[in-house]
Amino acid sequence: MSLRRAWHRLLSSWYTRAHWWATLYARWGLVPVGGAVVPWAAPRVPFHHGRIALVTAAGVHPRSAPPFDMENPRGDASFREIRGDVAASQLMITHDYYDHAAADLDVNTVFPLERLRELAPLGVRVAPRHFGFMGHVLGAERERLTRETAPEVARRLVADGVTHAVFTPG
C-alpha cells in the first residue's frame, strides 16, 4: 500500500470516531455542488408495491469486480453493478475515506441488500441490479460522474423498471 493510502486510512479512522469533527467539516468545510434546483419525480406506486434499487457511495462492489481507484487524489467516478441476488459474502468495500471496519463485518450497515430482500413479505420487490460508487470524487472525476457515470446508472435503473431508489453513504 502506498504511503498516501496509508495516510488516508489513518485519517479516516480518526474522523470516523471523532464524529464531532466530521460534523463540523460537513457544516463549514464542504461547499455546495450541483444546481439550486432539485429535481422531483412523484412516486407512481407506493414503495411497498414497488421495485426498489439500492445505490451506495460506500465503495461496495462484488469481490469479482475491479476495486475502485484509490491512487487518484480526485477519486473514482466509476460504478460497479451488484446483482440483487448476490450473497453478502461476495461483496467487499474499497474506500479509504471512511473507516469501514464495521461494514467489513456486516455490509448491511452501509448497503442493506439483505434487509431489503427480507421485506418481501410486506410486498417490497428487489431490483435485479444495484450500484456501488466510491463517494470521494473531486474535480475532473466529479465532472465524469455528472456527465457520464451517474446518467448511465440512471438509464440502467429505468431499463430495469425500478420505481424507487434508496441511496446510502459510507
Binding site: 464524529h19 460534523t23 464542504l30 426498489i52 471512511y98 427480507e118 446518467p151 431508489a165 434508496v166
Partner: protein, 96 residues
C-alpha cells in the same frame, strides 16, 4: 451522493438518500433526505443488528410518502443503542 440521486430523479425515478451528516445533506440535498444520528460507516446501524437495520431501512422507505418538497429532510429519532427498534416484519408492528 446527492448529485447521483438528482440524476436518477431527473430520469423519473423517485429517490431517497440516507445520511449521518446533516450538514453535508444541507450543502447538496438529494430530492428526499433522511438523516440518522448514527456513526459514519454505519448509517443502517450496528453489524449484525438485523432488526435495527431493517427498521431504519423501512423508515427511510417511508420518506417516499412523508417528504413532499424537493430537498426535503426528515431526521429519524433513533439514538443508537438507547432506542427501541420495532421490527416492521413483527405482527402488530403496524406495518405487516
Amino acid at each position: 451522493m446527492g448529485l447521483i440521486a438528482r440524476e436518477v430523479e431527473g430520469h423519473g425515478i423517485p429517490t431517497v438518500a440516507l445520511s449521518v451528516l446533516g450538514g453535508a445533506t444541507a450543502k447538496t440535498p438529494a430530492p428526499r433526505n433522511v438523516v440518522v444520528r448514527f456513526r459514519l460507516g454505519q448509517v443502517l446501524g450496528e453489524p449484525g443488528a438485523v432488526v435495527q437495520q431493517r427498521r431504519v431501512l423501512w423508515d427511510a422507505l417511508g420518506a417516499f410518502a412523508l417528504i413532499a418538497q424537493p430537498g426535503g429532510v426528515i431526521e429519524l429519532s433513533y439514538r443508537w443503542k438507547r432506542s427501541t427498534y420495532v421490527d416492521p416484519l413483527e405482527p402488530g408492528s403496524g406495518v405487516s
